[in-house]
Amino acid sequence: MPSLILRRIGFAAFTIAFVSMIMFAAVEALPGNVCTSFLQRFAQGPRLERCIEQQGLDRPALVRYGEWVSGAVQGDFGYSLKKRKPINELIRERFRNTALLGGIAALIAIPLAIFLGIVAGVRRDRPLDLSLSGAAMLAMTIPEFVTATALIYVFAITLQWFPAVTILPPNAGLMQMLPNIVLPVLVLSAVLIAHIMRMMRASVIDVMTSDYVQMARLKGVPERQIIRKHVVPNAMIPALNVIALTIAWLLAGVVVVEKVFNYPGLGTLMIQAIFDRDLPLVQAIALIFSVIYVGVNLLADLAALALDPRLRRKGH
């Protein structure tokens, strides 16, 4: 058992290392270098030389990769070209904001989606299930920027309950942030809930028709206990992967939603960095996203290991 966990963690670490290599190599493969693509037509003379010296581009790629990785592990992502600041200074607060947004969305959406999925699956084809499934379908089909615009229109412009966009000083406290995250969280959770709920519903229905649930009924087990002890743990196993994938989607969703609400998170920073061709900053944020992605998948793997005794066998 501990060896299985260690193996998964090792595999996750390997994946992140591999991703970092690809990201670094992709930038290397671009024509020119970080400085020429940033400076564009000003890439000449002392300006270029200064940039090359500051980014250390005069050294071999392998050395620079080694430095980049060892720096990243210690939380030092280098120096932003556009903002002329250390990257970790730039992203610290942005990271907190995005984590707040995504974290609250995930914390609300995942348990709620699982619960609704169980309810819909157990009450299959009854009015409650039909309305839940219909709503989920709707939430999945409408792109999040449309949902966001609609919510802004209703809650920010008409009702004026929440601000439409975030206009805050850069070092605003948590309490100041809260009213600003309500609408973005709503948009993100709508899609999260829809995906996870549908998977959970299908999984519950599948388990409800299994031989072991019929057996539990014929053992005289009350229905509530059947659902709690026989259905839910088994239905969770296939749903876990979808939850992990949906959280991966959340990372992309965050970028769009932050942009719509002008929310000061990593997503808006990344878009800005792309426009500025600030490659060191783009690389840093991409690496952070991939670490979150792999981390979430690792958690899903470990949860599956905890739920499913069949995975705990040796050799798997």
Binding site: R217, L218, G220, P222, I237
Partner: protein
């Protein structure tokens, strides 16, 4: 007479289609069962046998409702009770032992937790008492190290052990009646025989009534006091087991018994023509009239009543008429002297040594299949028998190119090698070797019509298109006795037997020299199986194809094979002409298998020679059967590969015992040491 424990009165139930039309699944079934008695319910798929059994628990599958009649269990009307009262009886006074224990046990709960759940519901015990009782129940079903078993998850048990655990769970509530729904179907013959003997003893010890549902007459003969034969949702015949099996009165029962292949009678069993009426259809006369060899005019005018004859009841107007003879047909194989296929010293392994294994020089795993050596003549059938894990299907897959060989050679007639995988075989080689799969359902594309399914090999191997292909496809369907209009149908519109016929037609579309039959009749009802065996035999005579026929059913293999190889753990134990393999002298494993076969005869008891232990991998050296062998001599069995002993004309037994000793009567079963047993089930 004492009051019956279970009384079913004129029970009708079924589904209600849109528009209010009723589709009956049971039509007026009446049955009685006294306390401590065992009733067997037999019938083919769709006969309603499982539905009757579940109705005894007051349970209906979703979509079904009771049209009329009632079920009284221990004085209580099961369908009139409240859901809560019914739940209290279920798993308590009347408990189910399911068909597939592997799937009926919840995979995320430990065995002990699942038994504890039943105890909590049906026994008034505190936690400590329950924990003791769990271990006691697991010991009662004779599971080794019961305390350890309680801590295991279902997947950590073998098939036979899972079934025993399910029995323990059923016994938790001190049941008065046990309902067994095909509890041994899908288990190996030796495991099945052991479980059945155990259930018989249990019924006697506990004095519990049993309702035993099965499609297998051999199983019913072994356990039941009385038998009810179901056909199209009705009782066709009901009576004491001996009467029904020895002197069947209903033409359906007679046909059913005649269609069972027997160990001691070579030749093909008689098949029953036609198919039963569709589930839920309306009956205007005798349900069996269309398939009955003694049908008369009055059979079709009204549904016959169940009439009492001696100790039995029979639903036939003409039960006193002499039955039509149903002779067994003997195969007349046309075996040529030319070779069709040869396997020489073949070894197959599923696990290739990985990079790390080679790096660290880890010992190579013993191959799954080893030392397989046989030749197949043109027009000949070689049967491969053995239990699950015997490597019989693996050998087929290697010939088909679906799995690679590790050593040895596989060659076609004139020495053309078959060692390359199926993806790299040329078209002609592909054509010459065809496979018919166990599960026709899964091997036919549900989105293709039969015409498309048969058209693919015709186009690929013979370049036929359009009208030519159409004409040939019709011929093929005719050869497997299906009407040409089936060409436009989809597999989903066909019955199981019909689908298997399409599978056969597809194989023969290629005009193969070697046809690989992988458990082709295992999923079919006996009457359909008999027809499928007759079909394969006829096609072989017409096309001169050679067959490798794989089955776990010894009697089926005997019926269709010229030569038979008995396999254990991927090694040949015995090979030779069918008549010689099925008669002494036997290899100890053949003897064990034969002893475990259940004949549809209430007076024949199985001879259990070896323990029903599931071995996960073959032993690293010596004889493959060393760990279970009832005639083990000693260390030599563990270390040295047994010699080939030629008995007579091509009959070879791989055993350290010599011919005379093998010919002797078997000794008593030696008791296994518990330590060794625990080792084998894999702690």
């Amino acid at each position: 007479m004492t009051k019956p424990l279970i009384k079913i009165e004129d029970l009708s139930l079924g589904f209600t289609a849109k528009g209010g039309r009723q589709g009956p699944i049971l039509r007026g079934v009446s049955l009685e069962l006294a306390a401590g008695e065992t009733l067997g319910i037999v019938g083919e798929s769709g006969s309603g046998k499982s539905t009757v059994a579940l109705a005894m628990m007051g349970y209906l599958k979703s979509g079904l409702s009771v049209f009329g009649g009632r079920v009284v269990f221990d004085g209580r009307d099961m369908f009139a009770l409240s859901e809560k009262d019914r739940a209290r009886l279920r798993g308590g006074a009347i408990a189910l032992i399911p068909q597939n224990a592997g799937q009926a046990l919840t995979p995320t709960l430990r065995i002990g937790q699942q038994i504890d759940e039943a105890l909590r519901l049906h026994a008034d015990l505190n936690a400590a008492q329950r924990a003791d009782r769990v271990v006691e129940l697991l010991a009662r079903v004779r599971l080794p190290s019961p305390a350890d078993m309680a801590q295991r998850y279902p997947h950590e048990l073998s098939g036979g052990q899972q079934q025993r655990a399910a029995v323990a769970m059923a016994l938790a509530g001190n049941a008065k009646a046990l309902l067994l729904d095909e509890p041994t179907t899908g288990l190996d013959v030796t495991t099945q025989a052991h479980i059945l003997e155990f259930l018989r003893t249990l019924a006697r010890e506990v004095g519990v009534a049993m309702i035993y549902v099965s499609h297998d007459m051999g199983v019913i003969a072994r356990v039941a006091d009385r038998v009810a034969v179901m056909y199209a949702g009705q009782l066709a015949e009901e009576g004491p087991t001996r009467d029904v099996l020895r002197a069947p009165k209903h033409p359906y029962t007679r046909g059913l018994l005649a269609s069972i292949p027997r160990l001691e009678e070579p030749g093909l069993p008689a098949s029953m023509p036609g198919t039963p009426p569709a589930v839920g259809s309306e009956l205007t006369g005798c349900a069996f009239a269309d398939r009955c060899p003694i049908v008369q005019g009055d059979c079709r005018s009204a549904v016959p009543d169940l009439v009492r004859m001696n100790a039995s009841q029979v639903r036939c107007l003409h039960a006193d008429m002499p039955d039509m003879p149903r002779p067994r047909t003997h195969r007349e194989p046309d075996i040529q002297t030319t070779l069709a296929l040869a396997l020489s010293d073949v070894a197959i392994s599923y696990t290739k040594p990985g990079l790390l294994d080679r790096l660290f020089k880890r010992p190579v795993k013993t191959p799954t299949v080893e030392r397989v050596d046989f030749a197949l003549k043109k027009g000949e059938t070689l049967g491969l028998v053995g239990e699950s894990g015997s490597g019989k299907s693996t050998i087929l897959r290697a010939v088909a190119g679906l799995v690679g060989t590790q050593a040895g050679s596989v060659t076609l007639g004139k020495g053309e090698s078959l060692s390359m995988p199926v993806s790299r075989r040329d078209r002609e080689t592909l054509r010459r070797v065809q496979m018919i799969f166990q599960n026709a359902d899964a091997s036919l594309n549900p989105r293709q019509t039969i015409a498309e399914i048969l058209g693919a090999p015709l186009r690929l191997y013979h370049g036929m298109k359009g009208a030519e292909a159409q004409a040939r496809a019709e011929e093929l369907l005719e050869a497997v006795r299906l009407p040409a209009r089936y060409l436009s149908r989809f597999p989903g519109q066909l019955s199981g037997g019909e689908k298997q016929r399409v599978g056969v037609a597809r194989a023969f579309a290629a005009n193969p020299e070697v046809t690989l039959c992988d458990e082709v009749t295992s999923a079919l009802d006996v009457s359909v199986q008999a027809a499928a065996l007759a079909l394969l035999t006829r096609l072989q005579r017409e096309n001169g194809s050679s067959y490798i026929f794989v089955s776990h059913d010894l009697a089926v293999v005997r019926a269709v094979s010229d030569r038979v190889a008995v396999l254990y753990q991927g090694r040949v134990c015995e090979i030779g002409p069918a008549a010689a393999v099925y008669a002494p002298p036997y290899h100890p494993y053949t003897q064990t298998l034969m002893g475990a076969v259940l004949e549809p005869d209430p007076d024949v008891a199985p001879k259990l020679l070896a323990d029903d232990v599931t071995e996960k991998s073959p032993p690293a050296s010596g004889c493959p059967f060393q760990r279970r062998c009832p005639r083990r001599i000693g260390k030599v069995c563990d270390t040295i590969v047994p010699p080939e002993r030629e008995m007579a004309d091509g009959h070879v037994i791989h055993c350290h015992l010599d011919a005379e000793t093998l010919d002797e009567k078997p000794q008593k079963v030696p008791q296994m040491q518990p330590r060794k047993l625990a080792e084998m089930v894999g702690g």
